[in-house]
């Protein structure tokens, strides 16, 4: 009650209301029509797509009475499942085709026996932390999308539910070391991953994958830079959308979480496809490539063929290739 207001104004207001009612009373009783004034569900849904009101329980977000859900369900059951299947299976098919046509990319000059340090132990540690996290995240994510149809019929509902439960926990927890890995990779490799003219020429020459010969490249070639930026941008989007899903209702509503889930699923599908290609070319696809992330030291001839400019830079810095101390004397 406003204390400053004199008593007589309150009285006057009350009297005015009473008089008003006395005059309008009979007329209003005839006019009240609960049908015309009542809120209608279909009308509200048409106007707002959601029907929302007030609840007297503490959980205020439960004030949403009816919300859209059909669109997300259709996306989840249809589009997302198709996009992911095509991305993953399509990339596997593409790699198989590439392997059949091109075969393993060998070192043209053969192994030199001289080694040059490509990635130091810290770089390798960061790479493998991120990589292992990504693999678990990808597999547990694919399990949530397709396990019900692929794995559950094989191992039964109970075993599958237990597995999926641990998968969910792994997905939630490993997201954090994955994000740390992303930040560290960005910091240690961004300098060498800024696109330049060399990359344009590298792509024009077919990147050494399609054409003959080896176009010059620095520490990272155009293809590797694309992988780097896919990981940084894709991983960044996955992190943001994943965090929104990990913390429900932290500044989001159901519609926002549906959108975050769709983005999360689409980006994952793309990044899994990119990573399959990355894993292929870093292992069975190319002779000598795995050493870069394995021992960290690559063969000089491999480095000359795939990263000619980088080898020159290293030599200019005085880091000359050496025979590894544990090498077996041969020839």
């Amino acid at each position: 009650m406003p204390a400053s207001r004199p008593v007589w104004t309150n009285l006057a207001a009350a009297l005015a209301v009473l008089f008003g009612l006395w005059f309008a009373g009979p007329a209003m009783a005839q006019q009240v029509n609960p049908t015309t004034s009542a809120v209608q569900e279909q009308q509200l849904l048409k106007q707002l797509r959601t029907v929302e009101g007030r609840v007297s329980i503490p959980d205020t977000k439960s004030g949403v009475l009816i919300q859209p859900g059909g669109d997300w369900r259709a996306l989840h059951d249809g589009t997302l499942a198709w996009v992911t299947s095509i991305a993953v299976l399509g990339m596997l098919a593409l790699l198989l085709l590439f392997y059949t046509v091109r075969g393993r990319i060998m070192i043209d000059a053969g192994l030199s026996g001289l080694k040059i340090l490509r990635f130091n132990s810290f770089e390798r540690l960061v790479h493998w932390i991120t990589a292992l996290c990504f693999m678990v995240l990808a597999i547990s994510g694919l399990n949530v999308s397709f396990g019900r149809y692929l794995l559950m019929p094989l191992i039964g509902a109970d075993a599958f539910a237990a597995l999926s439960h641990y998968g969910k926990l792994a997905h939630n927890f490993l997201a954090f070391p994955f994000m740390v890995g992303l930040v560290l990779m960005l910091l240690i490799w961004i300098v060498d991953n800024i696109p330049n003219r060399v990359d344009v020429a590298w792509f024009k020459a077919g990147g050494g994958l399609l054409g003959k010969g080896h176009p010059p490249a620095g520490k990272f070639n155009g293809g590797q830079k694309m992988i780097f930026w896919s990981v940084i941008i894709g991983g960044g989007l996955l992190s943001v959308s994943g965090l929104l899903l990990l913390f429900p209702f932290w500044g989001t509503g159901i519609a926002d979480m549906q959108l975050a889930q769709v983005i999360h699923a689409l980006i994952s599908a793309g990044l899994i496809a990119v990573m399959l290609a990355h894993i292929y070319i870093g292992s069975i696809g190319m002779e000598g490539a795995f050493d870069a992330m394995g021992s960290g030291e690559v063969d000089l001839n491999w480095a000359r063929e795939h990263h000619s400019l980088w080898v020159e830079e290293e030599k200019a810095r005085g880091r000359t290739p050496q025979v590894p101390p544990n090498a077996v004397a041969a020839e």
Binding site: T35, D77, A161
Partner: protein
Amino acid sequence: MARLKFLCDADRCIECNACVTACKNEHEVPWGINRRRVVTINDGKPGERSVSMACMHCTDAPCAAVCPVDCFLTTADGVVLHSKDLCIGCGYCFYACPFGAPQYPKVSNFGTRGKMDKCTYCAGGPDGLDTAAEYAKYGSNRLAEGKLPLCAEMCSTKSLLAGDGDIIAQIYKERVVKRGYGSGAWGWKTAYKDTVAI
């Protein structure tokens, strides 16, 4: 076989929240979880209506369609139940549900969800067992005793109706015809792809 449904006659609901309280008490639903709630639309304005809402036990339920571990079961009476033994608390049913029915207890760090909880239409768990463990998970099984959901049975204005869809639709239809108005069977179009034609 009956097709069990809920129908809330919003022109009768007085927002007393007795259905909410009865549900919590009957099933000893834990803190922070409400299987049923009353939402008041246009609160304080002309034409204000209150609607009591819980899981509507949808036809072709969206929750069941998107569940990654396939933990849902629709009974012969059309009641949508789920297994808390299988549920992994991923939240997908909550994204898909048009009525905000799935609820999750907060069990650990961040927003990690526990096993989903929702209205069972007072039908207990999917296994139909009568044990203390089942009661702790799902609440009581009134349907097995030949009783309807408590929320509807004790509704003082008989606003909330539960039972065979055809019968409660008929009751609602008669009411609308007699009193001359009705704000509609809330959620029926979304849940059952069906409205009560007057």
